[in-house]
Symmetry: C2
Subunit: 387 residues, 2 copies
């Protein structure tokens, strides 16, 4: 029987698989609502692990660590989509887990994702499973160059993707992913020429209630999200279309929790599904300052079957800029103080010990009456920030 | 030598004396900025204590507990103004403490407060120290009835105040406070007939940099703050005057940290100083959702001598309503779920185990384009909330 969601005698404890910045920000929301969190991760002192006494640093692949984590949690969720569904099945024998193992199976494999969504009528790029090197040549022949080869599982922030511009590159790509100790099964996708990349966060609870966040524009550099603009500077019908696609994706996989759906906007104003993350997402960090209910709070509400909070903006516009590591070394920024002098931009630092090139170390969020003004504020702050 | 404020190898740890909801909300800000917190309190599992591994439940009157807390902290601050300055002196031998013991000595005694401020030209009600029962009669004779007898120390939320409406009440008041095991030294103040009660939060760092929050209106019921309206619905010159008075108070006591200054607005549009709290304050909780920098974040920035963040509103208006215990019993609200259906109001629950009549168990904050709209939203949510 589910414990009361709010009982100070036996405080409700949300268990989170993963202790990174996404879990860190979810903890903020959970604590604010008088509840507690258990974190399981490989190693101690993760960004979220330091924030709770219920820290299980043995990781979820260690049976004792996992068992202790399950015992400490009332409901379990994740911040890391790379959890083996077999582990989720083990947890699900004892606790409610959201998103469910079944949803995770549909999502974790990018090929399965696209099969599921395209069958449901959601617009996707052309795609195919790649079993042999010849399949890559055939795909290029059929759909044209350039196209993208992607590992079906475990890719993120561009790791696991390779854009193939001509057939002479196929040998090298095949060797990189498929030869050696750990071959990584591939899929291929048409390269979508896009004007903008879009994202929409969607929260959904077990009752099927849905909260759809504003459609935002994301700007990547080297496959890593750098900037998020909310709302996306596109016309109203396109904003709505993106939201509709995002909701359709989450309903198609019977998703419970919070999901980040990424999309492409083409020069012909077509919107294509790109990827889905079954967890809070970088494109939704702005919601902390800018919306009535952050994606993290709605993550909690969704998995505990509480009524969802309003995803609407409480300000005119917002802009978020990631703070990415500029070199390998310790995670000490040189000029936090300088940046803090820009006094109306919110600074988030994740507390990671080590930096490396491109690693997400924190972010800035600005809000204003318009998105353009927010973007200007955020850039001003960024100029003063040096690792 | 002061440690770097941001070093993931040796994370900066703010030590807070007190583990209640004020410390809880300060922890939110500290974690967001990649730092950590140590909490010392009487007993474990306080609202803030559950949020950190560095919890010292032996309290600051226990030498071993205090020593361990000091060792774990880089800089120390407080959320509870009733800490004996002698304890602060002990801490100050080893760590920077803000507000300083000297500031606390000026603030902890309400009579000393008023002497300090009135000498500096800050408008206060008439007041006097009360050594004997006859002094009470003399005060009433000189300044009129009703007047207020207040314990010089340790009063809060109306505890320690008695309004004396006629001389026949003096015997009973004297007996209540001055006879028995623990006599509590008194002062007397003229009763100020007010239209509104106002409050302003002020943050000030060691460099003397100041951030002044909007002037708000506070509405009390039975001496306990119930509602806060931001900004106060009064004319611009009065809003500014209240802010000027608040800043003057903090500068007069060389205050470093965040301070809540409460004032009266009379029917003649005069503003009088009422009380000062040397810590984050109930009247500033709205700043979490409504301002660029919350009072809690500026508390951290002030005591670590970082540049202060903007205290300006990021929305048009806000309203906060306290959730007060309605009876003695366990701290379990009956209808969190009902209230949560009002989806654009932020719910804060402090996680206190026990409720009692009038105890602060949480609060709601609404924001909107105008304060009036925010107040309507907050009231709608409150109607659905039942302990």
């Amino acid at each position: 029987m589910l414990p009361s969601i709010y009982n100070p005698e036996a405080p409700f404890t949300l268990g989170i698989l993963g202790g990174g910045q996404l879990a860190k920000m979810t903890l903020q929301a959970v604590y604010r609502m008088g509840m507690q969190v258990a974190i399981i991760e490989n190693g101690e002192s993760s960004p979220a692990g330091v924030m709770t006494k219920k820290e299980f640093g043995g990781g979820w692949n260690d049976a004792a660590s996992l068992e202790a984590f399950i015992a400490a949690s009332d409901i379990v969720t994740l911040e890391n989509e790379f959890v083996d569904p077999a582990i989720l099945d083990v947890i699900a024998e004892k606790r409610l887990v959201f998103p469910t193992p079944d949803t995770m199976r549909l999502v974790q494999d990018k090929y399965t994702q696209k099969v599921t969504f395209s069958k449901a009528g959601i617009p996707t790029p052309q795609f195919a499973a790649i079993e042999t090197k010849q399949d890559l040549f055939d795909f290029g022949e059929k759909y044209g160059y350039p196209f993208v080869a992607k590992t079906r599982k475990y890719g993120y922030d561009g790791y696991g993707n390779a854009t193939i511009k001509r057939d002479t590159e196929i040998d090298m790509v095949w060797r990189k992913f498929m030869e050696g100790e750990n071959p990584r099964p591939l899929m291929a996708e048409s390269f979508v020429t896009f004007n903008k990349e879009l994202a929409v966060m969607v929260a959904r609870n077990k009752r099927g209630e849905v909260a759809v966040y504003p459609c935002v524009q994301t700007i990547q550099e080297g496959h890593i999200c750098v900037t998020v603009l909310a709302p996306a500077p596109i016309e109203e019908p396109l904003l709505k279309r993106a939201q509709e696609i995002a909701v359709a994706c989450v309903e198609e996989i019977n998703g419970v929790g919070v999901f980040g759906i990424e999309m492409f906007l083409t020069p012909q104003d077509e919107i294509f599904f790109n990827e889905i993350a079954p967890r809070p997402h970088n494109s939704g960090h702005y919601t902390i300052e800018a919306c009535y209910t952050s994606q993290f709070e709605n993550h909690l509400r969704a998995v505990t079957n509480m009524p969802l909070g309003s995803p609407e903006l409480r300000v005119g516009g917002a802009a978020m800029i990631n703070l990415l590591g500029e070199r390998t070394g310790s995670g000490i920024p040189d000029s936090v103080v300088e940046m803090l002098k820009v006094s109306d931009v919110a600074l988030h630092l994740y507390g990671k010990k080590d930096s490396r090139l491109g690693r997400k170390m924190g972010h800035l969020t600005a809000t204003a009456d318009t998105m353009d003004e927010a973007f200007r504020k955020a850039n001003t702050a960024l100029e003063r920030f040096v690792w």
